[in-house]
Amino acid sequence: MTYDDFVDASLAGLSRYALMLAGDPHTAQDLVQETMVRARERWHRVSVTASPERYVRRMLTNLYIDWHRAPWRRRVHLRADPAEWAVPDDHAQRAADRDEIWQALTALPRQQRAAVVLRYYEDRADQEIADILGCSVGAVRGYISKALSTLRARAGAAQLSTGGFR
C-alpha cells in the first residue's frame, strides 16, 4: 500500500476519530496533520506492519494522550454562557442532554476517552482497542467501566441541575 492509497482510504475516518478524541475540530486537525506527517516520513516502516491503519491510529492516539499536554497545544475552549441559552423545549432538552454527554467526555482521562471512542464510536473489539492503546484487554475493560460510571454520574448530576424530575 502506498502512502497516497492510505490517505485516500483512511483520512476521513482518522479525521472523525481525532474529532471524537479531541472534542473540537481545531485540535483534531492538528492531531491528524501531525500524525500523517510523521507517518509519511517513515512510511516504509508503517507500510510493512500488519495493519497500517491500526498502526497510524495508534500513533494518533499516543499523540493525543501524551503530546496534547504541551502548553502551546492547549486551547481555550470557548463556551456559550449558559445564561444566554434559550429555555429548552422537550426536543431541545433532549439535545442538551446529549451535549451533556459530550461535555462530560472532556472530564475523562485521555486513555479512558480513547477506549470509549474506540468501542462506542468505532465499534472495535477489546483486543483491537488494546492493540491501539498499547495496553492489556483487562486495562481496556477497566478504562471503559471507569469512564461509563463517571459519565453516568455526570449525566445524573446534569439532570438534577436542569430539573429533570418531572
Binding site: 490517505v7 474529532l19 475540530p25 486537525q29 491528524v32 502548553p71 459530550w102 462506542y120 461509563l148
Partner: protein, 351 residues
C-alpha cells in the same frame, strides 16, 4: 442507556470532523515546513554537561580516594580557585551529516559550592530570547552557532550577572559512550512521554535505561509535556543517574572500564584556571543525592512564548523567579532558593 447516549452524541458530532481536503493541504504545508526545519529537528538533541565530566571524573577519583588517602600528604596536581565555581556546560548534537555551525541544545550553569559539598545544575532554557552581542535579539541557542562557547558564555554572563570560570562543551556521542560504559542508568520520569523516532512510550516511573534509551530520551523534545524545557530537565535527570550508576560500580577494579571512561571523546574543556582532575578530587564528598538540577518549570505559561517575525517561537524569562535564581547563584544561596521553589527542582520529582 449511557452507551446509547454516547453513540448518539458521537454521531451528532461527526459533521464537525475536519474536511479531508483541508487536512491534505495542512499535511502538505506541515511537511514542507518540517523539511525546512529538518536540520534543526535532527540535530535538536542532546548534550551533557560539565556535569557528565565532573560526575565521571568525580566518581573515578572518589574510588581512588581510599588508596590515595593512605598517603599522608599527596599534593594534588593542578589548581582550583578557592571559591564557588560557575562553569558553563554546553550540549551539542553534532553529526557528520550536518555541517557546523551548531546551536547548543543544552545550556546549563554548573555551580559548585565553595565548600565543595554541593553541585547544582542550573538550566538556562535554550529557546530563551536574549541579546547576542553583534547579532541582536535571538534564541540563546544561536549564540553558539554565531560565536561558539565564548559567545555563549558572554551571553549567559550578561543574562545572569555571573562571572563564569569557563566552559565545557559535550557532544551527544559522549553521552552514549558514557551510558555504554557505565551500564543501565537509573532515571525517574515524572511524566509520560514517547520517542519520536519509533513511538515507544515511557509512563511516569523509574527506569534503568540502556544507552539507546538514554540518547532517545535526551533527544526527545516533541513528545514530552513542555518541549525543550522538559528535555533539559530529562538531561539533568540522566546526568544524576550517571552519577548514581557510576557510584555503584567498581571502576577502580575494572581497568578496561576506567580506560574507556578516560578515553571518551567529544568533551571539550576550556577552564583556564581550573584543573579538572584536581576539582574532581575536591568533589569526592559529593554524592548523587547532592547534585541538584534546577530548571524553569514553566507551568504552561503560554504568555511567555513569543513568535518572532522569522516564525521561530522564543521563550521569555520568568520575571519573578529567574532574577531570584540568578541572585542565588551569585550570592551562593541556592540551597535557600531550592527550599523556596521546590517546583524548580527537576531531579527530585519522584523523591
Amino acid at each position: 442507556m449511557i452507551e446509547e447516549l454516547l453513540r448518539e452524541s458521537f454521531a451528532r458530532h461527526e459533521a464537525q470532523a475536519p474536511a479531508t481536503e483541508t487536512l491534505r493541504r495542512g499535511i502538505d504545508a506541515l511537511a514542507t515546513r518540517r523539511r525546512h526545519r529538518r536540520t534543526a529537528v535532527l540535530t535538536g538533541g542532546v548534550a551533557a554537561t560539565v556535569a557528565v565530566l565532573l560526575v565521571a571524573v568525580t566518581v573515578i577519583v572518589r574510588q581512588l580516594a581510599p588508596v590515595v588517602g593512605n598517603l599522608p600528604t599527596v599534593p594534588l596536581p593542578g589548581h582550583v580557585p578557592d571559591r564557588a565555581l560557575n562553569i558553563l556546560l554546553l550540549g551539542l548534537d553534532t553529526r557528520p551529516e550536518f555541517p557546523p555551525p551548531y546551536r547548543s541544545d543544552i545550556v546549563s550553569v554548573v555551580h559548585v559550592s565553595e565548600d565543595r559539598n554541593h553541585v547544582y545544575l542550573v538550566d538556562i532554557p535554550r529557546d530563551l530570547l536574549v541579546d547576542i552581542p553583534g547579532h541582536g535579539e535571538d534564541k540563546l541557542s544561536s549564540a553558539h552557532a554565531f560565536g561558539g562557547p565564548q559567545l555563549s558564555a558572554t551571553v549567559v554572563e550578561n543574562l545572569t550577572g555571573l562571572e563564569l570560570d569557563g566552559t565545557v562543551t559535550v557532544d551527544l556521542g559522549a553521552l552514549r559512550e558514557l551510558a555504554d560504559i557505565l551500564g543501565p542508568v537509573p532515571v525517574c520520569l515524572p511524566f509520560s512521554m514517547s520517542v519520536s523516532t519509533d513511538g515507544r512510550t515511557f509512563e511516569p516511573g523509574c527506569y534503568t535505561l540502556d544507552s539507546d534509551d538514554v540518547v532517545d530520551i535526551a533527544r526527545e523534545r516533541y513528545n514530552v509535556p513542555m518541549g525543550a524545557i522538559s528535555r533539559a530537565a530529562n538531561v539533568q535527570r540522566i546526568l544524576v543517574g550517571f552519577a548514581e550508576q557510576a557510584a555503584s560500580l567498581d571502576l577502580l577494579g575494572d581497568a578496561d572500564q576506567l580506560a574507556a571512561l578516560l578515553a571518551i571523546d567529544g568533551i571539550t574543556i576550556d577552564l583556564p584556571d581550573i584543573d579538572p582532575v584536581a576539582l574532581a578530587a575536591q568533589l569526592r564528598g559529593v554524592a548523587a543525592a547532592d547534585i541538584v538540577g534546577i530548571a524553569d518549570p514553566f507551568h504552561g505559561a503560554a504568555d511567555r512564548i513569543v513568535l518572532l517575525p522569522s516564525g521561530a517561537s522564543v521563550m521569555l524569562l520568568d520575571q519573578q523567579v529567574a532574577p531570584q535564581l540568578f541572585s542565588a547563584l551569585h550570592d551562593e544561596t541556592l540551597a535557600d532558593f531550592v527550599a523556596a521553589h521546590p517546583d524548580w527542582v527537576s531531579t527530585s520529582v519522584l523523591g
